[in-house]
């Protein structure tokens, strides 16, 4: 009788919540397609999203981010904060405690030595670690006991959740990578392709730039997960083909980053096999204004440097008029559909840091014209405005990309309407973002008047992102054209506020300063003209359950909760 009741109970549970009570490996195979193929499973050797995210199935950090951008524990027992004593009151150290009883997929215990090793592996000066920024400013990483690790920073760190947090700084096994530090990193092909991890899956086969095969990790900390016994990550092709494989042919269960036009999205959804999902992070497509003169008539070495202010764009009124002429909703409709939304902010998220700046959302062509006239630019005989014999002509550059060329064409039209002559230029993405100091076409050199691209920040703290616009970060011949402040924006008040942000630990206060900084760059000065807040767009089969799209961490962050809808 007892057994029968138990069985009935179990049956009821299965009927009510098939997902929650599933056993490990009962749902068979799941197929994922990343149209950029996976090259390595060691995120410390590659900054490619495809590599980092696929590796996140196998190796995990101490803590990660959930879909709301909150820090959640993974290997750590809890997230250290000032309140629970994990973060020291002076904000210079953070103490992590591992969950007790954690095992690597090979059955050996996870200890604090592995955590210390992971940090040292990345901080090795000869290794060329791609994620070094996450370990920046660390003085020491020490193991206090088998389960406790203390990270001490050189200076107070208001946001201590960089090292060991998020899929870009996972814990690797010290025993496996012992001989792979520094210059030896490249010789460890076997380790890099099949790291031993703590995640829900472990690697069974790896083919470079093609396919990764995995099976459920028998030592995963939750004995009921993952629901899938085996998993394949296939690579290659392009976004449309990946979306087609999920939405139309049903060969795959999940497709990453299916960035295709809203029209094609609609056609594919009609296939009835899958659905598109989207979520918003911090990626903003924007137009950047060049505050220095990029004219080719200036000698090399002075061209586009702060020695020569821009003859047209130095005037705030012109920059503002250019922004006013743009209808951002139309751009969203053309380029991104559901996976985009108009924005006036450089920092559109997390909610606490996003300013309520909505000034730019309404297009105002007449206002823009009036503003230009006020600035002394009057229409010439051919409709193009002139001032002191100079024509209002701008060179507008971006990378080669179908959506960007559409944007260029339509923005050119709007700007022509207010009397601005526009010349368009599109540069191969490899060159444009390549950072080669010898090339005139990099976005850092900015040899044009305005340029368009998208950028975002890592994690949930915008401080390093906003700090890119300080005076000394302007690229110039002296810095080999390296530096993130590509507008050559320079405002001592801004720099002072950045210093203040670095000293502030209290969240509310930080958010306030960050909003202020964001507004200084956008609605106060129109140095950066945000256009579209670009969401992440992926696709999954209707039969795949448990998918929650996360833009703050790996997209595959909760694969252990995925299951097959029967």
């Amino acid at each position: 009788m007892k057994l029968r009741t138990a069985l009935l109970g179990a049956a009821a549970c299965f009927a009510l919540a098939p997902a929650a009570y599933a056993e490990r490996g009962t749902d068979g195979q799941v197929n994922i397609i990343y149209w950029q193929a996976v090259s390595t499973l060691n995120p410390y050797l590659s900054s490619g999203t495809k590599d980092v995210e696929t590796a996140s199935l196998v190796i995990e950090p101490l803590a990660g981010f959930n879909e709301k951008g909150e820090v959640i524990p993974r290997l750590a027992a809890e997230v250290p904060t000032v309140e629970n004593g994990g973060v020291s009151a002076d904000l210079t150290s953070i103490t992590w405690k591992l969950k007790p009883g954690l095992l690597w997929s090979d059955g050996t215990p996870v200890t604090s030595a592995d955590v210390v090793f992971s940090a040292n592996y990345c901080m090795d000066p000869a290794g060329g670690c791609a994620q070094l920024a996450r370990y920046e400013g660390i003085k020491t990483v020490e193991a206090l006991d088998d389960l406790t690790v203390k990270v001490t920073y050189n200076e107070p760190r208001p946001n201590p959740y960089t090292a060991f947090v998020g899929s870009t700084s996972p814990i690797i096994q010290a025993a496996q990578f012992a001989n792979c530090s520094g210059a030896a990193a490249s010789s460890c092909t076997d380790q890099n392709f099949a790291p031993i991890g703590t995640g829900p899956f472990r690697v069974t086969g790896f083919r470079t730039n093609d396919v990764v095969q995995m099976e459920a990790n028998p030592n995963y900390r939750d004995p009921t997960k993952p629901a899938f016994a085996t998993l394949t990550v296939k690579g290659g092709g392009e976004a449309a083909a990946a979306a087609r494989a999920v939405m139309e042919t049903g060969e795959f269960d999940y497709a990453w980053n299916t960035q295709i036009s809203p029209e094609v999205q609609g056609q594919m959804t009609a296939g009835g096999k899958g659905q598109f999902i989207y979520a918003f992070g911090t990626l903003v497509e924007r137009i950047e204004m060049n505050l220095t003169d990029p004219s080719a008539s200036l000698p090399e070495g002075q061209r586009a440097t702060s020695a020569h202010p821009h003859p047209i764009l130095s005037d705030l009124r012109v920059r503002k008029a250019l922004s006013m002429a743009i209808d951002r909703d139309v751009l969203v409709e053309i380029g991104y559909g559901n996976a985009g939304r108009a924005t006036c902010n450089l920092v559109p998220a997390p909610a606490a840091y996003a300013s309520d700046n909505t000034d730019c959302l309404v297009q105002d062509v007449e206002g823009a014209k009036a503003l230009l006239t006020e600035a002394g630019w009057v229409p010439g005989p051919d409709g193009v405005r002139v001032k002191d014999g100079m024509r209002l002509k701008l060179l507008y550059q971006t990378s080669v990309n179908a959506v960007r060329q559409d944007f260029q064409a339509i923005i050119k039209q709007w700007w022509n309407e207010i009397g601005v002559e526009v010349e368009l230029k599109a540069i191969d993405a490899g060159v444009y973002f390549g950072g080669d100091a010898g090339s005139p076409d990099t976005f850092q050199k900015f040899y044009s008047d305005v340029e368009m691209y998208a950028n975002n920040f890592d994690g949930t703290d915008p401080e390093p992102y906003l700090a890119q616009y300080t005076c000394e970060k302007a690229p110039s011949p002296a810095t080999q054209w390296q530096g993130e402040n590509i507008n050559r924006f320079c405002d001592p008040a801004y720099d002072a506020l950045i210093v203040e942000l670095g000293r502030t630990g209290e969240m509310g206060k930080r958010a306030e300063i960050a909003k202020r900084l964001n507004e200084m760059l956008t609605k106060d000065t129109y140095t950066v003209v945000p256009l579209v807040d670009r969401g992440r767009l992926s696709a999954h089969a209707l039969s795949l359950g448990g998918v929650v799209l996360n833009t703050w961490d790996s997209e595959l962050w909760n694969v252990s909760d995925w299951y097959r809808i029967k």
Binding site: T40, S46, T208, N209, E251
Partner: protein, 335 residues
């Protein structure tokens, strides 16, 4: 003949060295940067360190000679080690891909089988369709068969594979569900059912490529047959009372095949080169797909090694085609 072969072989060595230098300099001069794909969120100083770890901070000639040493010395030693289980190459730096930090030769070895099965199969099928079509089209010149053959080969010539490939996917994979749109490279043929699956997944890429190959070769075959059919010796053969079958398939065909064999031999290196576009469209992980992804990510050692191997193959098959010519055609003698 032997002297000729030896002389050609010796000339090939400086040719290849110059080719390698030209490839290297082209890659060097080409715009782009191996770290171009690194997200903008990575700070410039971290990027600098990554660049140094890839060895990109040394001068071009240092990198060129390092590559030469790795390609001509370390890699052959590794092959020796692999075959005889020795360890001569232990501790020596091999040619390493920037993208995956894996030895380039391992990646190539992993991918050659896929390319050979798919592209090689399509070449075989292409040739075996093209020859009969070419022969019959020429024999019945301007007949309806010839007209249709011309039409089909014009289509095969002029429709690019990225178009025909996608059309096939939409028809056979999306609408009819006959074939998969994505090639499963982990599939193993163990029994009849898995063999059928392999045939199904190869069907579309092979179809696309064989159409293209057949179009080309059938035109060569046809024109070569036409050249010979009007020759005096054909009239003589007929006058002797030989059957049409013997005249066409023995006398004319043998003579017409000489230039066609050369064309086929010269086409063989393209099999190894893979079919960049078709492999990309059907996600076959062959050498062509590797080449294009490596070019996109500026994986210089990978691009350099692959293109150089293609150069070796082209030079080799040119030599083979020349030698075949001498063997097949008694009028051509090299000594």
């Amino acid at each position: 003949m032997f002297n000729f072969a030896l002389r050609r072989f010796l000339i090939a060595i400086p040719t290849l060295l110059i080719i390698s230098l030209v490839i290297f300099m082209l890659l060097e001069a080409a715009p782009g940067d191996p770290l171009g794909d690194v997200p903008l969120t990575v700070p410039p100083d971290v990027k600098e360190k990554m660049r140094a770890a890839l060895g990109l901070d040394s001068a071009w000639y240092v990198r060129y000679f390092l590559w030469m040493k790795q390609f001509f010395w370390v890699e052959p030693l590794n092959l020796v080690d692999y075959v005889w289980g020795t360890d001569y190459a232990k501790g020596m730096q091999r040619v390493i891909s920037f993208q995956s930090r894996q030895p380039v030769m391992q990646i190539i070895a992993e991918r050659v089988p896929q390319t050979l099965t798919v592209v090689g199969m399509s070449y075989l099928i292409g040739v075996s369709i093209a020859l009969p079509i070419g022969i019959y089209s020429a024999y019945r010149q301007y007949s309806w068969f010839d007209q249709i053959g011309t039409l089909v080969s014009m289509i095969g010539f002029s429709v690019p594979t990225f178009f025909s490939g996608v059309v096939l996917i939409i028809v056979f994979a999306v609408k009819l569900h006959w074939f998969p749109s994505i090639y499963d490279t982990t599939h193993r043929v163990t029994d009849w059912a898995s063999f059928l699956k392999q045939v199904r997944q190869m069907a579309m890429p092979v179809m696309v490529l064989s159409l293209y190959n057949a179009a080309q070769i059938s035109r060569f075959m046809r024109s070569s047959m036409l050249d010979n059919l009007n020759q005096d010796y054909v009239r003589t053969a007929r006058a002797k009372g030989l059957t049409e079958r013997v005249v066409v398939l023995v006398h004319v065909l043998r003579n017409s095949l000489i230039p066609v064999v050369t064309v086929i031999a010269l086409g063989v290196p393209t099999i190894f080169g893979g079919a960049i576009i078709t492999e990309q469209v059907f996600k076959v992980n062959g050498l062509g797909q590797q080449l294009i992804t490596s070019i996109h990510s500026n994986d210089l050692p990978m691009v350099m090694t692959l293109t150089f191997i293609f150069a070796i193959l082209i030079v080799t098959f040119n030599l083979i085609a020349d030698l075949l010519y001498g063997i097949l055609d008694p009028r051509i003698r090299y000594d």
